[in-house]
Symmetry: C2
Subunit: 238 residues, 2 copies
DNA sequence: TTATGGGTTTACGTATACACTAATTGACAT
DNA sequence: ATGTCAATTAGTGTATACGTAAACCCATAA
């Protein structure tokens, strides 16, 4: 999983490997929700869409299987990973624990430069909250957490955290639109920053965990509201 | 990463997919150290070895790339992932934090049945220490930690922990042969079990982290001893 | 002796063809 | 009308073939 987004982070070079381009495209479409969970991914159909043969499509799908974004169903092809509400909550809880783990180490190890960079980012987010700019805050949020990852000075841990976070990106944005979640999110960031400034990694860790779990709870409320209004379609079942 | 060992955990059925069998075989060979880091993996050569064509071999290699066990080098094929000592220590530290995270949740959530199962396992390890049976203790150790993973009652977290642990399996066994590491390892397990029995997840977590970092330190000493005696070969470089 | 250039070769990346499994559909019997 | 069985078909899994790019080697010149 470590390398899943390494290539995606590189340029959009069309000269890259076809199988990698297909993998990145599918990754984006799944993470963004353009490909809904449970929908079948047919090899020839994807090959036609990307103007390629089945070979690179197959390799892309196999990589997505390992990264957990799609699931194989025997010989019946692959489907976009079906996330049950329980599994989504499990992933959010894991993400909360991982973030808590990272911020604890980061607090003890970050350089003054990294600290000032984080403070600068945090200050900049105030305007986004005032403007209720969800997209801007979502982008800031991503950078904010990535800065904490790298401040652990443990590249492997940073990759792991990044992977977990990436797999939740499809849900995070919807969560931010819930009520005044943005404002609360920034307040929680503020409390975390305070603990970091005091060099109290344990407190920063606890606050980060609570912060992430609050985000998960906001998402849960959001989902339950939608389930109440729309009957769940159950697009594909055994 | 999540699904990396899901298939490996299944039976050794030869009827399974050829690409999966190849992937599992290569995974085992890399994890066990049979394939040393830095060695090139040629597609046709592997195809001949497994009596298959290049197609399933390529798919297996692509999956190993995502799981981080091998690295691509432009068009020059893939090589077994080159682990620098720094990266290995990063992985051990991450593993330590992940284990600490798991045992904390597990302490709060495990059922009486899971607790008694863990106690039973721990008791059984005493005889292995007395007999200095490294292989048996290594196998026990794996089950012991997996029980803690599942006791988190968070399947996603359990998978993540399992993946991190699996990627270190090649080093863990050598580490156990260092001095009287086995006896100390069991003593540390004992302290962890005590905290679990008292329902003190925070203490269990701290002790687990220390336990894992001790294992990493033992490995480091072991590696440094070997580096001192043998000049590092540097089998393949840029 | 060393550096550079071109030719050769090897191996990857992709396309296409074939095999085989399993899902689907239709017919027939109950 | 419904259930079951067989035939068809659609789609995956694997093999093979082809194009291309990079590495290697050797010859030649400075």
């Amino acid at each position: 999983m470590a390398g899943l987004f390494k290539v995606a982070a590189e340029a959009e070079e069309d000269g890259g490997l076809l199988s990698d381009r297909i993998r990145n495209a599918l990754t984006d479409e799944i993470a963004s929700g353009a490909l809904v969970a449970g929908s079948a991914l047919e090899e020839q159909q994807l090959a036609d869409r990307f103007g390629a043969s089945r070979t690179p499509v197959r390799e892309a799908l196999r990589q997505l299987v390992v990264s957990g974004l799609v699931e194989v169903r025997g010989r019946r092809g692959v489907v976009v990973a079906r996330m049950t509400p329980e599994r989504i909550m499990d992933m959010f809880e894991t993400s909360a624990e991982v973030e808590a783990m990272c911020v604890r180490l980061a607090t003890y190890r970050m350089t003054p430069l990294e600290r000032s960079r984080l403070i600068e980012l945090h200050e900049g987010s105030r305007a986004m909250v005032e403007a209720s700019d969800v997209d801007a805050y979502d982008a800031f949020n991503r950078v904010f957490h990535e800065c904490i990852y790298s401040a652990t000075h443990n590249s492997f841990m940073a990759e792991q955290a990044q992977d977990v976070r990436a797999r939740l990106s499809a849900f995070r944005r919807t969560q931010l639109r819930q009520g005044d979640r943005i404002r609360k999110s920034r307040d929680e960031h503020d409390a975390i920053m305070q603990a970091i400034a005091e060099g109290d990694g344990e407190t920063a860790s606890r606050r980060m965990r609570a912060h992430m779990l609050n985000a998960a709870a906001a998402l849960r409320r959001y989902i339950e509201d939608r389930v109440r209004s729309v009957q769940s379609p159950e697009p594909d079942d055994v």
